[in-house]
Amino acid sequence: MLFPIRCLAAIGRFFIALLASIGRITRFGAMILYRGALPPYYPGRFFHEVFEIGWNSLPVVALTAVFTGSALAQQVYSAASRFSAQSTVPAAVVIGMVRELGPVLVGLMVVGRVTSAIAAELGAMRVTEQIDAMETLHTDPYRYLLAPRLYAATIALPVLVMLANVIGIFGGYLLSISKLGFNPENYLKVTREFLRAEDVHMALVKAAVFGFLMALLGCYNGFFASGGAAGVGRSTTRAVVSAFIMILFSNLMITMFFFG
């Protein structure tokens, strides 16, 4: 076969495999939502996951937000100084944090913590036959293991992002007041003026979508892991990388939907 034909065939195979994967993951997600909506419910498992995903992610999210907000204020200040527009710092910090940096950075940080943990735990349960055992013990793993994680991540992420936004804006405020010579009252006034409800809505939508995707990809890769410890490692890596890509891709899609 000619080289260009072989290249085309390889590209075709790649896209067919990609579409097949998207189809399998979509079906898996629909199955979790469907079975999770039916009794028996596991509220204890749900609140445990909210604590694990939300509360335990708070330190890393807070640190990320405060450093990012401060760095953003410094960057905008030094760039705006070139054309004497330093007064735009509060507006740039609030818009930058709420629309983009808050949701995306929190999403990526939580993927590192949560998606990897979900994939590794479920993968270990799969290869040690614990998931098979659960099916034989009158308990549906979709309801007991998967649905609480999916619902908890979808609900916890918006809360984390809102907190990160507040902390990030506060970080920018602190640096601007202490180092860049801004008037505190004026800074807060400009921040309030530039923050719009639609920015907050978009941040919440992004966060919920990111939470859903990161839990779904962690669950999918862990639940279907195979091949012992090495297989669990591969599944975890695949879950984290695919969640990173999906968060960045869905961020672009949502931004275009709101502002395109």
Partner: protein, 253 residues
Amino acid sequence: MPQTHPLIRIRGLKKSFGDHAVLQGVDLDIEAGQSVVIIGQSGGGKSVLLKTILGLIEPDAGSIEIEGQDIEKMSQAQLANIRDHIGMLFQGGALFDSLPVWRNITFAITQGHLRDTAKMQKLASEYLARVGLDDRILNLRSGELSGGMQKRVAIARAIAAKPEILLFDEPTAGLDPIRSDVIDDLTLSLVRDNGMTAITITHDMASVCKIADKIAFLHQGQIIWIGNTHDLRTTDNPYVRQFFDRKAEGPLH
């Protein structure tokens, strides 16, 4: 005359993983209240057979009927209903390592919920006693138990839901002869006194001779020999003979 069905009827069961054909047409009948032992070489598909009976692995061909119903034609809900009557001991125990021993044992009863703690702990203690363990391990997690203890806790978990059919995958592997005998006595008691049906996979010939009503030899994906313990001791089938006599020389390698 009414036609009687075996409790489990397996016909022409085939399963491959990639190019590796594991089951190549298994036929087996299991009557209610029988203790059936499946023997055969390691990697011969015995565990796959048990998981296929349970519906955890989908066969490529053939049928499995439980109480006259083909599990291949069942919905997920019907399959879950059938599984409610089956208790399974997995080869590695498969205890939930995030839960203490007592919650593992009562998992099927509570369906994973945390409730009636005192009552469930008492119940778990009773099942631990049946497998020769005391209640000091109730609050330990599987990582804190020895391999043999994990196996016995897993047996306690399998029988706690009072199933009608027991599937035991190497219940005495990793146990000393005395503990093995406790498990054999328990299996016999469950079959003889409680009317359960047991299907056991084991390489322990002493166990086979003690607990089996019927023995099936699985070789190269097919049941090539069926008999009772007397037949096992006297058979001239070269494969079964070599396996029972534990000899390296012979047709099996």
